[in-house]
């Protein structure tokens, strides 16, 4: 073994990558790696670039040895991707077979992943003694990252088609949507954002505040697509700063309005926003509304849906707006949904819009589930209603008091 075989491997990999347009090339690439290293199997993973918190298996090769180590491979690869450190160790699978593995991360920033190579246990010493091979891994990591990056970027026309074929834009998470939900006891939270274009203009935020309270924000930049998203990013930055201060919801909206209105007037845009602070201890919600749809509350006691009171001008309407705050108290089992225009404006084939009535109707079919379950069901219902034809971003946050 030496430089020559290593170089051949690298050439082979580049050859495969730049010629083929099919995603199966990743299986072929890891097959080459297995052959070169005398391993049993190899897997290739990436952190899903579109959806944070998920990992995707790009390729796998097993040299005819049918011992299944998929589950083990998944666990170890996830850990490597999380730690971003090489992970070299021994393992025993579910059938008590013994293995030696090398799980090596690659990439940085937007594109990260790892490849995990499996050897029969008795080959461990051979491998550890070969300093060349270990150094070669770092080089291999660079090459694999280049290859994956090329595939995702330049073959993107295929990738996009695949995405479109899937059930609407449920899978594209806009960067304006929280990827991690705060873990707060006695509260169930579900959040979904269905994006009409690739870039979303709806803003959802869940902010963990001091003394256990939860800040919930839902915003809509009227005028979607890229300009809307840019405006929302700015709004979010200012908003988060203000939210962390001790200011009350109505003060925060007022301040936000002062900061953003000059810009918004220039862009001929408005932002509607709802901001509430929920206290799980006493289930009280203090909130302010800037031109946003009134949130809907489901009361378990009488099984009725009601609209939360409270109005206010959209942000960007006037230079100085003074907002009012309102209060609501939830009971155990009550549900609240805050949604953007896109949800009620979704239209079906006969051009009939879903409406707040549609939301109430669908919600009442699923109220007994937890917030996540209800979010799933509502999202499915929306996509089915418009038959995958979204004309505006549709987002919502569901809060269930437990």
């Amino acid at each position: 073994m030496g430089d020559k075989k290593e170089i051949n491997l690298f050439f082979d990999i580049y050859d495969l990558a730049f010629d083929a347009a099919k995603p199966e090339i990743f299986n072929d690439i890891v097959e080459k790696v297995v052959a070169y290293l005398g391993a049993s199997s190899c897997s290739l993973w990436i952190n899903n670039p579109e959806i944070a918190g998920t990992e995707t298996k790009l390729g796998y090769y097993n040299n005819g040895n049918d011992k299944d180590i998929s589950q083990l491979d998944y666990g170890i690869s996830c850990r490597t991707m999380a730690s971003k450190e090489p992970n070299i160790n021994k393992a025993v699978d579910g059938q008590k077979n013994k293995w030696f593995y090398i799980s090596y991360p690659f990439g940085e920033n937007d594109l990260t992943g790892c490849f995990t190579i499996w050897f029969e246990e008795n080959l461990e010493n051979d491998f550890r003694q070969s300093g060349e091979k270990i150094k070669g891994l770092a080089k291999l990591a660079v090459i694999i990252k280049n290859v994956v990056s090329h595939f995702l970027t330049y073959k993107r026309f295929d990738y996009k088609r695949i995405i479109q074929e899937l059930s609407a834009a449920e899978k594209i998470q806009s960067s304006l949507v929280p990827t991690k939900k705060p873990d707060i006891p006695n509260v169930g939270i579900g959040a979904r954002s269905l994006v009409a274009n690739e870039v979303g203009g709806d803003y959802l935020d869940l902010i963990q505040l001091d003394n256990g309270k939860l800040g919930i924000a839902v915003g809509d930049a009227m005028g979607m697509g890229i300009p809307g998203a840019f405006v929302m990013l700015t709004a979010r930055a200012i908003f988060r700063l203000l939210a962390k201060s001790k200011a009350e919801p109505e003060e925060i909206l007022g301040q936000l309005n002062i900061c953003l209105t000059p810009e918004l007037i220039q862009q001929n845009m408005f932002i509607s926003l709802f901001y509430g602070v929920y206290n799980p201890q006493n289930r009280n919600l203090k909130y302010a509304v800037a031109g946003h749809n009134p949130p809907i509350i489901f009361r378990r006691s009488n099984r009725k849906m009601e609209d939360l009171e409270g109005r206010g001008l959209v942000i960007g309407g006037k230079h100085q707006i003074s907002y009012n705050s309102f209060n609501a108290t939830l009971e155990k089992g009550d549900l609240m949904i805050i949604y953007t225009d896109g949800v009620k404006d979704i239209r079906n084939k006969s051009n009939k819009s879903f409406g707040a009535e549609g939301i109430k109707r669908v919600l009442s079919n699923y109220v007994e589930y937890d917030a996540e379950g209800i979010s799933n069901c509502l999202a499915h219902a929306l996509v089915k209603y418009c038959n995958n034809q979204l004309n505006d971003d549709a987002s919502f946050i569901i809060l269930k008091a437990e």
Partner: protein, 355 residues
Amino acid sequence: MRIISTGKIRPGMIVGKNIYSADGRILLKKDVIITEGYLAQLDRLDIPYIYVKDHIDEDIVIDDVIKEESRVEAVNITRRAIEKIHRGRDIDVPEVKTVINKIVDELLGNSNLVLNLIDIRAQGDYLYGHSVNVAVLSGIIGVALNYNQIMLRDLMLGALFHDIGKTKLNRKIVEGKNSADSSGTAENKKHCQYGFDILRANAGISLYSAHVAYQHHEYFNGNGYPRGLKGQEISEFARIVSVANTYDIFLSNVREEEETSILKAAEYLTANCGAIFDPEIVAVFLKRVAIYPIGTRVLLNTGEKGFVTKTHKNFPTQPVVCVDTNLFDVKFNQGYDVDLSNKKAYFIIGCEENI
């Protein structure tokens, strides 16, 4: 194995699970290859779905919440008991209690009691299979409410004979199905009173069980029958059986163009909370019903595909999915399990029929 509506079955498919008649005979045997002849027989027997398996999913085993032989025995014993009543004789209560106690033990011994299987039966023997399934479903709710063994037994006994009053009606009620809205003729409604009278006359049956027969058509809002009882006036056993009964009727009534009938049944129960059903009981029940039963092929929001391998009690919408196809549609020989209740960034956006 997976469930498939009879309309979609083709010769060559392999039967995944036995289907029994009420007297314990096997009408359709597991592992048999379906032929044209079998298709005709399925039609005659009026069976809406069956479980089939093929090389893709033959390793997926979906367990019933109780043992198959317990269920078969229970159906047989129920048939005998109801026939006895029909002939004017008394129920052999010890025989019934023995099989119910066995089932109670099996339910209590199941640490992850979640409903993944749909109980399939030939419509000709509808009442017996229906009675047993309502008893089992009620038992699941009872276990979730932390009932002890005696309470479970009395609950399930009541559930088993909730429709026994129908033996006194003038039609051949033992065949044929109920409609989801209770068959409302005045004559028909009397089966509640008849059932109560039959059961309370038997010294071996508790009055609580008898009240199930009496009250299982009462509505939570007071608009039910026969007495228009409301809310907590209705015995808890009866409120439980009302939910279980409706759920089972719903699933036996669905035709092939419907999608995921389980979800429709869940929607119906939820939408009618407060009106017909006790919301607390529906909430408890729905936590134990797998919306995506084991074996269902699903599409995830990441674009990956796989099938459900395990359902957690309390999180029926976030099961464990064995992912075997990546977002580029590349299928791997062996999948890996992703637990949706832990990895919150994943959720299911579609299942089998729509993929």
